[in-house]
Symmetry: D2
Subunit: 265 residues, 4 copies
């Protein structure tokens, strides 16, 4: 059978990424306590393709993913990327997996238990120059508007917001989703919960009203925490508020890369 993908190409155009996108797969992901949890991942996998090669053998991506699907943590994710690179015979490979990550929470007054969902993404790369590793979390919060509170005699508009943090740890440093979720939740006026009884709702309402924050404040809160964490090489934070008085969102974002002088701050 002819190997069409293996044929030469003569247009002189190297491709940064060739791969598969949107594959939904059952994966076992380590949680913060070292336990594996089954979840549903949406997976993108790619390799670079040199100018002289016609294409990549896409079925090999799924073979490699299938082999690794039951053991995803920081170390094995890097091995997965390396494995993709070898099987596809490419100079670089990239794997990205997005999935729902659940943490059991207790309501602030009654202690009622429920699961909170956080959208998480793991991105790993492998190339001649080494590996790369990126964690991303998207965390829902409540935010109460400081301007609305200051200019009004009573009440203050508030809404659900989402704090998205991307972090590249120092090589070898241990950071997992749970820590980033905690940083994000602490930036809002209050966390959100799947289950709140009436005493909890009273607590959350007043705690939020007493702690109003703009999207700018939330982004800065996250930045201050992550800039002072020596395990962090690079981060990006984006906070959006699904404004309750508008039909559009407000947002703030910044990116940061560690340098000697930054770290001194």
């Amino acid at each position: 059978m002819p190997d069409v993908q293996g044929l030469p190409d003569e247009r002189g155009v190297a491709l940064d990424e060739v791969g598969i996108e949107g594959l939904r797969y059952p994966m076992l992901i380590a949680d913060g306590q070292g336990v594996k949890r089954e979840t549903v991942a949406t997976v993108d996998m790619s390799v670079s393709v040199g100018a002289e090669v016609k294409g990549a053998h896409l079925s090999r991506f799924v073979e490699v993913l299938h082999a690794w699907r039951d053991q995803l943590d920081q170390a094995s994710a890097l091995s997965l990327a390396e494995d993709v690179r070898n099987r596809l015979g490419s100079s670089s490979a990239r794997v990205q997996m997005s999935f729902a990550y659940f943490v059991e929470r207790q309501a602030p007054v009654t202690g009622a238990r429920s699961f909170s969902e956080y959208q998480c993404t793991l991105s790993v790369g492998a190339s001649d120059k080494g590996t790369s590793f990126l964690l991303k979390v998207r965390v829902p919060v409540t935010s109460v508007c400081p301007c609305s509170k200051a200019i009004s005699d009573r009440g203050a508009h508030n809404q659900r917001g989402y704090v998205t943090i991307e972090v590249e740890p120092e090589p070898g440093a241990q950071i997992w989703f749970d820590e980033l979720i905690d940083v994000a939740e602490a930036s809002g006026s209050s966390p959100v919960y799947a289950l709140l009884k009436r005493p909890d709702e009273r607590h959350v309402t007043m705690a939020g009203y007493d702690n109003p924050v703009f999207v700018e404040d939330m982004a800065r809160h996250v930045a201050v925490v992550l800039r002072s964490d020596v395990r962090v090489t690079r981060f990006r934070v984006r906070v959006i508020n699904e404004e309750s008085i508008h039909n559009h969102a407000a947002y703030a974002q910044l990116g940061w890369t560690a340098t000697t002088d930054h770290r001194d701050v």
Copy 2:
């Protein structure tokens, strides 16, 4: 060239709807003031297919839509459905168009002008038994939670909500989107706006705080108005709140059909 769709079928299965879905098309829609506005519609069109016929000629749907695209109002929408039925040679036809409908609004204190977007849908049908006509609007509002306000010493959680109303008017009755949008907006704690200056934000914050409503209250508000409108044959209302203290929504809905005794209420 063979007409495969025109061949007979011997399985004895009639099809309720055969058609196209998700066609995006530029349309001119009448606004409430008799002016045509260009918008982008997402269009579904279908006909019923008898048990003895293999299939429908789908390209004819697009031909008919193309011919009618510059003049959509209540009357022409019904003619469009009738035209589809005739061109496809079917006993019944259905056309549904969803689009962004913009209304210029003024901020409540400063009068600053901006456009508010409402998702609207027009559904028309034609069959041996006559025509059908359905209007649907999805309207964003702010809602302040009565429970949170009552149990807290200060503040109250609030959020963006969406009021969706579907109405089948009496044959011949004139109802257009603008009226339904007004009913929906009046049901919330406050309308939302694309543009609010600070005096407007103060007004909206306090007006909302003074008028807290549950999703149940909003659905009932709409129901009371529409039940007493003699032009309404049937309606359905669904209100959802994108809860600011949860990462899920709360909702309430009901359907209603006019009967002699209902109308007396």
Copy 3:
């Protein structure tokens, strides 16, 4: 603390459904072989609310779901709905859970193993009049166009399609997702797979070309199978093709309810 939801309402409007929507929760679902699989469900839960009651206590929905989350099969789903009805003190309750359901498949020639994902939904209801139970699956297939093949000297356009089947089984009858997935996959020109090696791709290409089907054919295929299944009380099938020669979809659908004379057919 005041119970605002428990207050009376005087507008005389009963609500069909009051509840929560879009809650994402980790659930253990029985697979076709009696094994529990963890997945991520998107959950809607509601009760009816009488005209005289102000509202429902929404936090109770999450409490009930949390208690049942690790044991979802046909019997326990009905108990869950009954439990919701009791906890909320309502005359009727409804629970709907949508989730990714994975089945391990083998490629048709090489036997290479991978997981196929099917979107599944379980809807259960409980009221004074008894319980209701509805299964729904959404199954991707390949479809080759019979018209394109017949009118062209070579080739034929083909595309991914989705067959969605909803079934209400007879009370007490055992039907689970796997059976419906098989019916849906058999209706297309070929199933789709996450992993195909070259000999498999050759097989799938030719098998599809030799078995061209319209959306009408796929819907009828499913209808013929389900109409003759005595365990089926009611079904609805909708097939859409994401047409490769258009930027919109083609679809066909029908609904069917068992009656004595239908069953004779």
Copy 4:
């Protein structure tokens, strides 16, 4: 009334972008023939905020957009960004508008007319260092798989694909969406159409079968055309195929920036 956003901030964190996201607005966009067409844009607008300032006055974004909404072309889009920067008193501003852009097409044999929709995005920036301008189009095509054709005795799997091109023109160079759409459409096995009669379907089926392309080929086709266009400073192309034999997509992408030696190629 206090100006909370105007207060100082002491955390020492400058923000890259503060703004609004997802505002839907009616806009008049120039088409390739110098005519203004009304469409519905989804708009993001932002400014940078210095470390010493608490926040941005978000309502001003909407005021500026409202003033410019009826005249969007290359020149006015740059003026809009400059206007945002001035009104918000910031060192840099960015505006991004995504919208449906329609072009009337004729079917290849019968000449039947219909509109094709292309998702387009205009991104403009203004800062101390000058302006930036970026055009983006997303174009649906048909692609027939060369591997499937080569290894099969008959048929070949094909599917809808999307070619996304982002281009930064040389300062002052005139490039508009229509040209990029043409480049994208020429890269596939065949364009797609809203309306094809049977002779057109025959033509499209055979033309596609005679011109099979991988995602890699489409990306390279676009790259070869844009690399040799002296008006192009920088581009990125991403091609995805919604594979008809899989339930996931295949993709290829590359980015390119003009340098003296590249241009010689």
